[in-house]
């Protein structure tokens, strides 16, 4: 059955239309969870507001479990679902640069669109920065294409790399998330909190 677009159960244009609808859901959930506020987002790095950790890990685990069950029931063919490839060097260095951008700018790309949609001028400036950053990467591509393409490992699953089955890995991740949620609730009590 799924993925519907890859199996040509729905047309390309229907897929684009549904992308727009999915985007509305994505934006609505992010904004109503408070991800349109940079000070609320940055709270995760100081302990005063752990909403990012709670929403992010609950979201990742919900989707991961959903896909594991959909695959088990034969509702989605995981061989046809895009699995992000792993380029070890650029995944780490790119992630580190994004981390610096996150603590400086207070947003990530998705949440900056969310902030801009309700009138945050700082989010709009962050988006202007995104366009500049992507353009700089593109313009100087020949300088860092070697770095960009190095450390290629294919598209391994984290469970395979750790020598675990998908189900066991999922269970461990859920336990880790529960411990982090407990720590998050503790941190929010310890550090003074304001509503932004």
């Amino acid at each position: 059955m799924g993925p519907l677009a890859v199996n040509e159960i729905i047309s390309e244009n229907t897929n684009f239309f549904l992308a727009f609808i999915i985007g509305i859901g994505f934006g609505f959930v992010l904004e109503s969870s408070g991800f349109s506020s940079s000070r609320k987002l940055a709270g995760v790095f100081y302990g005063y507001d752990m909403v990012v950790l709670k929403v992010f890990f609950t979201g990742a685990i919900t989707a991961m479990l959903g896909l594991l069950f959909f695959s088990l029931f034969g509702w989605v063919d995981m061989d046809l679902v895009y699995v992000n490839p792993t380029f070890l060097t650029s995944a780490i260095i790119g992630g580190v640069i994004m981390g610096v951008g996150f603590i400086m700018g207070g947003y990530c790309p998705g949440t900056s669109f969310c902030g801009a949609s309700i009138g945050k001028i700082d989010a709009l400036l962050f988006i202007v920065g995104l366009f500049i950053g992507v353009s700089v990467f593109g313009a100087g591509y020949n300088w860092w294409d070697e770095l960009y393409l190095s450390g290629f490992l294919g598209s391994p699953k984290v469970s395979e790399s750790l020598g675990l089955s998908d189900g066991v890995f999922a269970l461990i991740l859920i336990v880790v998330a529960l411990v982090m949620f407990w720590a998050a609730e503790w941190a929010e009590k310890k550090f003074p909190r304001q509503e932004y």
Binding site: P3, L4, G25, G59, M104, G119, F131, Y141, K157
Partner: protein, 177 residues
């Protein structure tokens, strides 16, 4: 619960409920389109559109444009992520409108000026934009969506993003607390 905490109830969704809903949106994306959510990819489409409009032969000289055109056929704006991000603007606006949060403002800590906040927002955006290209996706496309499909790279990028921001938080505390 005291009366003051009752009246000061958070105006936001319960974060665990928000997370489950976010996960269901991400699950829907994978079930329908065979791919996860993303954000920085739409910016890339925008940049490629502008560059190829100014110079239709940019693909011959730029490895970046050539790589993009190799992976995506047709017009760069006719991309899944561009439609999805237009939806994000609509969805965010609707949620903000329903909750009474629509307002033009520069949000910053009382300890810093608006100008300082805007300079940091712009600089942070530049770094995030650059990093998202090197890392093949941002917090949405690489970290969140990658984790949902158990991608090793997704977990590594997630740890690098949050680990770095956490490690630097002390030096930038004035901006936030």
């Amino acid at each position: 619960m005291t009366e003051s905490t009752n009246t000061k109830r958070s105006k936001y969704l319960n974060p665990y409920l928000g997370g489950v809903l976010l996960g269901l949106v991400l699950l829907a994306a994978n079930f329908i389109a065979g791919r996860g959510l993303g954000a920085s990819g739409a910016i890339k489409s925008g940049v490629v559109t502008v560059v190829t409009a100014v110079n239709p032969h940019a693909g011959e000289t730029s490895g970046f444009i050539r790589e993009y055109q190799g992976a995506h056929g047709g017009s760069p704006m006719k991309s899944w992520l561009v439609f999805e991000m237009l939806g994000v603007l609509v969805g965010g606006f609707l949620s903000g409108a329903l909750a009474g949060r629509l307002k033009f403002k520069v949000e910053h800590s009382p300890k810093i000026t608006s100008a300082r906040r805007l300079i940091f927002a712009l600089s942070g955006g530049i770094l995030f934009g650059f990093g998202s290209q090197l890392g093949r996706g941002c917090t949405s496309g690489s970290a969140l969506s990658g984790m949902a499909v158990l991608s090793l790279g997704g977990f590594i990028t997630m740890m690098a993003i949050f680990g770095t921001a956490f490690a630097l938080a002390y030096f930038l505390r004035k901006n936030w607390i």
